[in-house]
C-alpha cells in the first residue's frame, strides 16, 4: 500500500528517480541478506553480480539487439552462475578469509569491466540505453513489484525447512554436517540465488540511468549493500528493506547540509551499529 502510494506523495521527477533507485536497493539488500544474514557468509563481492546483471543485459540488448525481456533472464542466469563460481571458493573459506576473497572477486570483476574494452567499452561507457518501461513511474512500479515478489518468495523460503538449514549452517557448520547437511551445496545455493537476485537488480540499472560505466559497480557499492543489511537488521526479512529505504533517502535528505552530508551519514551509521547491534528491525521486535 505504502509502496503503491509513494509516487503520489513524491511527485517531483528527481524524487521519483530516487524511488526507483530505492526499489533496486531493496532488491540488492535482499540478495545480500540471503547470503550474509541467513547463511552467515560474509560476502563483500555482491557488487560484482549487480554489475554482471547490468552489463550482460545491456550488451545483449545493444550489441546483439535482444529484447529486454529475453536479455534480463539471460543476465540473471549469468549472474547466478558467477555466484556459483564464487561459491566454489567460498565453500573452502570462512569469516574474514571469505570476506577478503569475495572483495578480491569484486575488484577483479571491476577491472575486467574497465579493461575489456572491446566488449564493455571500458571507462568510455555505453550510452543511450533505454529503460524497459518508458516513464519513471512505470519503472518504479515494475521494479517495486518485482522486489515485492522476491520478498514474498524469500520470506517463504526462510520460513521453510530450507531456512532452518541455512540458519543451521550460519550457526555451526560442523553440527549441521553431523545432521546430514551438505554445507557446500547449500552455501552454493545461497550464493547462486543471492547473485541472481543482484543480477536482476542490475538489469534495471542501465535503463534507468541511460548510461553504463564500470564506476557504478565500484566495490564501494558492496559496502553500501553491507551497510543496508546491517543497519536494517541482518537475518530478518524486513530489516534489509528498511535499511535500503533509509540509506537511499538519508543521503538525499542530507543534501541541504552540503559538505557535511557524508559526515552526518557516517556518524548516523556508526550510531546505529553501536546502539542497535540488531539493526533498526530489532526496535520493532523490542516494541512488540
Amino acid at each position: 500500500m505504502l509502496v503503491a502510494a509513494a509516487p503520489w506523495l513524491i511527485t517531483t521527477p528527481y524524487w521519483r528517480g530516487i524511488l526507483v533507485l530505492c526499489a533496486m536497493n531493496v532488491l540488492l539488500a535482499l540478495s545480500l541478506n540471503l547470503v550474509m544474514g541467513y547463511t552467515g557468509q560474509l560476502n563483500l563481492g555482491q557488487s560484482a553480480f549487480y554489475a554482471i546483471g547490468a552489463y550482460v543485459s545491456t550488451i545483449l540488448i545493444k550489441t546483439y539487439h535482444w529484447n529486454f525481456w529475453l536479455a534480463a533472464p539471460a543476465a540473471i542466469i549469468a549472474a547466478g552462475f558467477l555466484g556459483l563460481a564464487l561459491a566454489a571458493f567460498a565453500v573452502r573459506l570462512r569469516g574474514h578469509y571469505l570476506a577478503i576473497a569475495s572483495l578480491g572477486f569484486a575488484v577483479i570483476t571491476y577491472q575486467v569491466l574497465v579493461n575489456w574494452e572491446s566488449v564493455t567499452e571500458g571507462v568510455r561507457g555505453i550510452y543511450g540505453i533505454l529503460p524497459p518501461v518508458g516513464n519513471t513511474l512505470g519503472l518504479f512500479y515494475l521494479i517495486a513489484g518485482i522486489a515485492l515478489l522476491v520478498y514474498l518468495a524469500m520470506d517463504n523460503l526462510v520460513r521453510s525447512p530450507v531456512g532452518d538449514t541455512l540458519r543451521a549452517i550460519r550457526e555451526d557448520e560442523i553440527s549441521a554436517a553431523a545432521l546430514g547437511v551438505n554445507g557446500a551445496l547449500w552455501k552454493a545455493f545461497a550464493f547462486g540465488v543471492g547473485a541472481a537476485i543482484a543480477g536482476l537488480a542490475g538489469c534495471f540499472y542501465p535503463g534507468f540511468v541511460g548510461t553504463l560505466v564500470p564506476d557504478a559497480f565500484n566495490i564501494v557499492e558492496s559496502f553500501t549493500m553491507l551497510a543496508m543489511v546491517i543497519v536494517g537488521g541482518m537475518g530478518t526479512m524486513l530489516g534489509p528493506v528498511i535499511g535500503a529505504i533509509v540509506l537511499t533517502f538519508l543521503p538525499e535528505l542530507l543534501r541541504g547540509f552540503g559538505e557535511l552530508r557524508l559526515m552526518i551519514y557516517g556518524v548516523a551509521l556508526t550510531l546505529v551499529v553501536l546502539f542497535l547491534p540488531g539493526g533498526i528491525a530489532s526496535c520493532f521486535k523490542r516494541a512488540r
Binding site: 517463504n156 521453510s160 532452518d164 540458519r167 550457526e171 555451526d172 554436517a177 545432521l179
Partner: protein
C-alpha cells in the same frame, strides 16, 4: 553394525588413535572409556566423519565409510553429539530440533518458495523436546538454556535424524546428579527403541549401570574390551586409571 579395523590417526607426531579395532554390535549400549587424552574423542570424530583416518578400515552395516564426509554418514543413520556442546545458539529449541529433520525433507524447492513454512515434522520435533524434558521451552533461544539442558537439546536434535547408531561424546559431563539420572533413563529409552548407542563417558555410574559392553582405550590404543564387570576387575584398566602403583 559398526566395524573398525586398525584405524589410525596422527596429528603432527602425536598418535592420537593407533590401530584401533572395534566392533559395535547392533542394539547395544556400548561404552568407550579411558583416561584423558586416551583418544576417545578423536576416535569418535573418525567414526562420525569429522576426521578421516590416516589408515584402517571402517564399515557401517556393510558399507564402507572411509572417505565419506560427515553429512553422508548422517544420511546412513549415524548421529552424534559433541563433547563441547555445539548448538545453533541463536535459534529457538524448536528450530534446533527441526533442523535435525533435514535429511528427511523431500519436498521440492519450489514448493517452499510458494508455500513457505512446513510443519510436517513440527509435531515430531515437539515430541522429541518433550522427551528430553524441554517441551515447555521450545520457543526460547537455545543459547539461553542452562548447561545440562543444552546437552539434552543436543540429544533431541540428533535423534531428529532418526539414527540407527547414536554416538554421544561425554553426555554426562557437567551434569548434576539429578540430571545424570534423567540422562540415564533417556539413554535406556532410546536404546529400547532399537537405536544402538556408543557412549564416550567418564561417569562410571553411567558406564557400569547401563552399558552392556565397555571398550577401554589408553594412549590411543585399545586396552581392553568386555562387560562392565570384567572391566572393573581388569588390572590393566585399573592401572591406566589410577596409576601403576595401585595395580599390585
Amino acid at each position: 553394525m559398526l566395524q573398525a579395523r586398525a584405524l589410525s590417526k596422527s596429528f603432527g607426531g602425536v598418535r592420537a588413535v593407533h590401530e584401533v579395532t572395534l566392533a559395535v554390535p547392533e542394539k547395544m549400549i556400548y561404552a568407550l572409556i579411558g583416561p584423558n587424552g586416551a583418544g576417545k574423542s578423536t576416535l569418535l570424530n573418525l567414526l562420525s566423519g569429522i576426521y578421516q583416518p590416516d589408515a584402517g578400515e571402517l564399515t557401517f552395516r556393510g558399507e564402507n565409510l572411509i572417505g565419506l564426509p560427515a553429512y553422508r554418514r548422517a544420511r546412513l543413520g549415524i548421529a552424534r553429539t559433541f563433547q563441547k556442546i555445539r548448538l545453533f545458539k541463536q535459534l529457538s529449541l524448536l528450530e534446533n530440533v527441526r533442523a535435525g529433520f533435514h535429511i528427511h525433507q523431500d519436498a521440492p524447492l519450489w514448493r517452499y518458495l510458494v508455500r513457505g513454512g512446513s510443519d510436517r515434522y513440527d509435531a515430531e520435533a515437539r515430541e522429541l523436546l518433550q522427551f528430553v524434558g524441554l517441551g515447555e521451552r521450545m520457543h526460547e533461544r537455545a543459547g539461553a538454556l542452562a548447561y545440562g539442558q543444552q546437552r539434552m537439546l543436543e540429544i533431541a536434535r540428533a535423534l531428529a535424524t532418526r539414527p540407527r547408531l547414536f554416538m554421544l561424546d561425554e553426555p554426562a559431563a557437567g551434569l548434576n546428579a539429578a540430571e545424570v539420572d534423567f540422562l540415564l533413563q533417556r539413554l535406556v529409552d532410546v536404546s529400547r527403541r532399537g537405536i544402538t548407542l556408543l557412549v564416550v563417558e567418564h561417569n562410571m555410574d553411567l558406564v557400569m549401570n547401563v552399558a552392556q559392553r565397555v571398550f577401554v582405550m589408553d594412549h590411543g590404543v585399545p586396552l581392553y574390551e568386555g562387560t562392565p564387570r570384567e572391566v572393573q576387575a581388569n588390572r590393566a584398566v585399573v592401572a591406566a586409571y589410577l596409576g601403576g602403583e595401585f595395580a599390585a
